[in-house]
């Protein structure tokens, strides 16, 4: 986790220097002038100094650069005073003063004023550029952090966190949604303040940037409101705050756009799925109903004149199609239960044999044209699962195997212990799967490519239901295949039940390790 970056502090250079500091600078300047005077005077005793006053100019210049106008003027006055005491003749203050001395007055004063102005300007320019740099750096880091957020929905929370940290107070973000403000994120404690009320008022009155409420804009139009707990610390750079608020507005507008695009995409996908469901329902309900109605009306109209075989055929059509309809409705019901979250699994210890026997009993009629070869399921330890859900999943898998493998072929039912679980497998000799199909096969409405040609009836819901059921029962389900045309295998993994050692008298003791 990266911690939020600090908001730049407004530069002290831009503020007016305090009087104490000016005084200190002036005193220092005067002292330096005094020292310089003593040095020049000592020097003039040994060598002939023709223009001593020139030597004071650097001192005045220095005072201008480091101290500003007042210290440099002080230095100028001090220089004049020193010169008049040490070098000028006593007639200095008379009207017939030495032109050199008059020139010194102008030189000292001019240097002090001009250079202090220049230095002040340079200092301000440097400060402004430093400040701009700090703000730019801050915004760059701020934007980098926003763009690092992968999920657009996370942006408001992150922004509020950032604002709260930077401004050192609570922060709340509201975005316009259908004409009203919607709270997106709140960080920190607002105390007695009602941020939503404050935000709504600002939104109605279109108050712009009156701390602690900021109206957000994007493309010139208001999009939302940011409210912070207290007016920001006056030391924080107001320009940086304004820039941060503006960036937040842009980020939120971007987020809203991204969410809308995503919403549209999901909607389009749901629309496609709905179409597929409707198409499938319409086909799967109408086909058997058409056969039933057709057969019944034929029996009604021509029954008495039909021969016995024809009547028997029509009756078995009615029965088979009704059963097909029942299977389909059962599956739709299962699906509704899954979607409504009403599976409520009842997990209990159970023999796998009980589950397989019940499933085989259920699928007896569908499997009449196939041979079932089963492992001895009693050799397996007990499992802990919801037997009803697993049985229904197994029924779907067996029906699937019957549908996709040629009549007369063998369907293998295998059971083995693998990593603390029992894996039940159904291996058919049907059209098989390729590697990608094995992954996709549990998705709703998925059907094997060959099956979509219409030769095999089905709606691609059975395996999806199986997966939901097995997982609800605490198991796993997966498919594999040795390749296209080599049959498919479906596996259901169920956790082992705790092993109980029981004597014939009914005394029992829990064993710690698995053992059959």
């Amino acid at each position: 986790m990266t911690s939020p970056i600090a908001l730049p502090i407004a530069g002290e250079e831009s503020a007016r220097p305090r009087a104490g500091r000016i005084l200190l600078h002036s005193v220092v300047a005067a002292a330096v002038v005094g020292l310089a005077g003593i040095a020049v005077f000592t020097l003039s005793r040994t060598i002939n100094v023709t223009s001593a006053s020139i030597l004071f100019v650097p001192v005045i210049l220095g005072a201008a650069i480091f101290g500003g106008m007042i210290p440099s003027l002080t230095a100028a006055l001090a220089s004049l005073a020193v010169c008049s005491v040490l070098f000028y003749n006593p007639a200095f203050f008379l009207p017939d003063a030495d032109p050199q001395e008059v020139a010194d007055i102008f030189v000292f004063g001019g240097v002090a004023i001009v250079s202090s102005q220049l230095a002040g300007y340079a200092r301000r320019a440097a400060a402004a550029s430093r400040r701009r740099e700090a703000i730019m750096e801050y915004l760059l880091a701020f934007n980098r952090r926003i763009s690092a957020v992968v999920d657009p929905a996370q942006i408001p929370a992150m922004l509020a966190e950032e604002l709260s940290h930077s401004l050192g107070s609570a922060a709340a973000i509201y975005l316009e949604d259908g004409g009203r403000l919607r709270e997106l994120a709140v960080v920190g404690d607002f105390g007695a303040m009602q941020p939503l009320t404050v935000a709504e008022q600002a939104w109605r009155n279109r108050e712009t940037a009156v701390p602690p409420v900021y109206l957000l804009h994007s493309g010139g139009a208001p999009v939302g409101v940011i409210v912070v707990g207290t007016a920001p610390d006056s030391r924080l750079d107001p320009l940086a705050i304004a820039a941060m608020i503006e960036q937040s507005g842009l980020a939120l507008a971007r987020m809203r756009l991204a969410l809308r695009v995503e919403e549209a995409r999901v909607l389009a996908k749901a629309e496609n799925l709905r179409e597929a469901v409707l198409g499938s329902i319409s086909h799967d309900l109408h086909t058997p109903l058409a056969s039933i109605l057709g057969s019944v009306t034929t029996l009604e109209k021509f029954g008495p004149i039909c021969d016995e075989t024809t009547r028997a055929e029509l009756q078995s059509t009615i029965r088979e199609e009704a059963q097909r309809l029942e299977r389909y409705i059962r599956r739709m019901l299962d699906l509704t239960r899954i979607r409504a979250g009403r599976l409520a699994p009842q997990v209990e210890p159970i023999d796998v044999a009980d589950i397989t026997n019940a499933a085989l009993r259920q699928t007896q009629k569908v499997l009449t044209r196939h041979r079932i070869e089963s492992d001895d399921m009693l050799a397996l330890p007990m499992v802990e699962t919801d037997p009803v859900l697993v049985e229904q999943a197994l029924v779907n898998i067996l029906e699937n195997a019957a549908k996709y493998s040629p009549p007369g072929s063998v369907i293998f039912l295998r059971g083995q212990v693998e990593d603390e679980r029992v894996v039940l497998s159904v291996q058919d000799s049907g059209i098989g799967l390729d590697r990608t199909e094995a992954q996709k096969i549990f998705a709703p409405f998925y059907r094997a490519a060959d099956a979509t040609s219409g030769q095999v009836a089905g709606n691609g819901l059975g395996l999806m239901v199986s997966k939901a059921f097995v997982e609800a029962a605490g198991g796993e389900i997966w498919a594999d295949s040795r390749g296209v045309g080599q049959g498919a295998a479906f596996h259901i993994g169920m956790p082992l039940a705790k092993t109980l050692q029981v004597t014939d008298e009914g005394e029992a003791a829990w064993a710690t390790s698995a053992e059959s």
Binding site: P349, A497, K498
Partner: protein, 236 residues
Amino acid sequence: MGDKRRILIVDDEVQIRRFLRPALAMHDFDVIEAASGAEALDLLGKNEIHLVVLDMQLGDQDGLDVLKRLREWSWVPVIVLTVRSREADKIRAFERGADDYLTKPFSIAEFLARVNAVMRRAPPAAEEPVFEVGGLAVDLARRRVLVDGAEVKLTPKQYGLLQHLARHAGKVVTHEQLLRGVWGDEHAEDVHYLRIFMRKLRQRIERDPARPTYVVTELGVGYRLLAADQLEAIAS
């Protein structure tokens, strides 16, 4: 034979009543119908009825409530009709005193076999001393079990289980009923015991313990020792 046995069918779907009536009439039952729970309770109070077929989803009230009201004063056998996806209803129906259940849709053969199983033991006095199904015979008076004519030795707990099932042959006996009956109330929740003992019992009495034919597991509910006509219905 005396009076015909009388069955009350309680279902708000006229189609269901219409298809049950001729089959029952052909099996010498006197059939009366009720389309609502209130009507059913009224008829039960006024007539001598030997069996009730009760749908769980009635127009005016829940079938479970009708069952509860009925059980306040009558022990007439009841078969409830449920729909799939409402498995929890089965257990609740047993708790409230149902004798068996059938899941819609069902075939008429299945329905008649259940009706016969429930009717057979309806008067407790008529309990037969020897129960027989296929090659299995349980002599309840002498505590002897024969499989294909040969006597099989069972431990007391195994025999207890089989005896319990045989007394309710053809009907589902719930896990809880078996555990309370054989192990006592403190083991009512120990389904594990039941599974292990059922495995041992099947090894003694079933021809193929891996594909049991006499004692059938009703997943999530309990066990059923098939009656002779049920065994035939499955075999055909």
